[in-house]
Amino acid sequence: MSIKKITAVALLLSTTSAMATDSPINGTVQPKCSVYTETQGVYGHPLPNKLSTASADGGVSTSIRYDIAQADFYKAQITHPNSFSSSPTLDDVVAWTGSSVVGQVSVSGMSAYEAAKVISPSNVTTFDMTLAGSTWFTVSSTALYGYNKSLPAGSYTAIIKADCIAK
């Protein structure tokens, strides 16, 4: 009987003691960069010789999100296409245009990235990621084929390169 009581008291004490113990949760914030495709781009085909991601042309622009864990460690470099990665055989030249612009931002100061961006060469845009948080970039692309020539029927795919490079 007394042994049972002692055991019960001992168990209670141990439980109380466990409840009083601090349980720290440890974490480390490291400088890191993550890239997400928020919206997959789609080419509209408004004219026989034109493919365009502009909404006015029936396309969808690509939206890419960069998450930066710590300020001023990375630069974002976005390359819009200047060739198709897959297409039917083309026997004439394709004239490419495009742009990469700052869209939504998680910190208001990130809006300044747009004015400070560097375009060099013509299809590569570099943004200096000086603030921590998320930035969405909208990338558009247009391809004009030959001189008013119709694009051959088939599937067309182009690749946007979204790089995040430690400074």
Binding site: S34, V35, V42, P81, S85, T157
Partner: protein, 104 residues
């Protein structure tokens, strides 16, 4: 990919240094990543690793070691992982992402 600034440590092979890296896949549309090493002006540098093409599931991470010859250390600047995208289907744009850590 972490760390942003990897440290090159001596390895168990004479004349070869190693960088210990970690890749975290935050892209649901990507399963494979290619490891590459570059100089400051983006010329490729010879390196060794267990697999140059890593399969990493969505929201999973993978540790990997990059071995570089001691003779190449001075010219090595970036260790990068590039997402591998599938060929794609109809009239679309695909996003290939490259994350680079810098050796300082």
């Amino acid at each position: 990919m972490t760390p942003a600034y990897p440290v090159l440590d001596s390895s168990y092979i004479n004349g070869v240094v190693v960088a210990k890296m970690k890749l975290f896949n935050r892209r649901e549309d990507v399963d494979y990543y290619q490891i590459e090493v570059f100089t400051e002006d983006w010329k490729p540098v010879s390196f060794a690793t267990t697999a140059r093409l890593l399969k990493v599931g969505y929201n999973k991470n993978k540790l990997f070691d990059v071995y570089i010859r001691f003779a190449d250390v001075k010219k090595t600047k970036y260790i990068c992982t590039t997402s591998k995208v599938f060929k794609g289907g109809n009239q679309e744009t695909l996003v290939s992402s490259m994350i680079c850590s810098k050796i300082k």
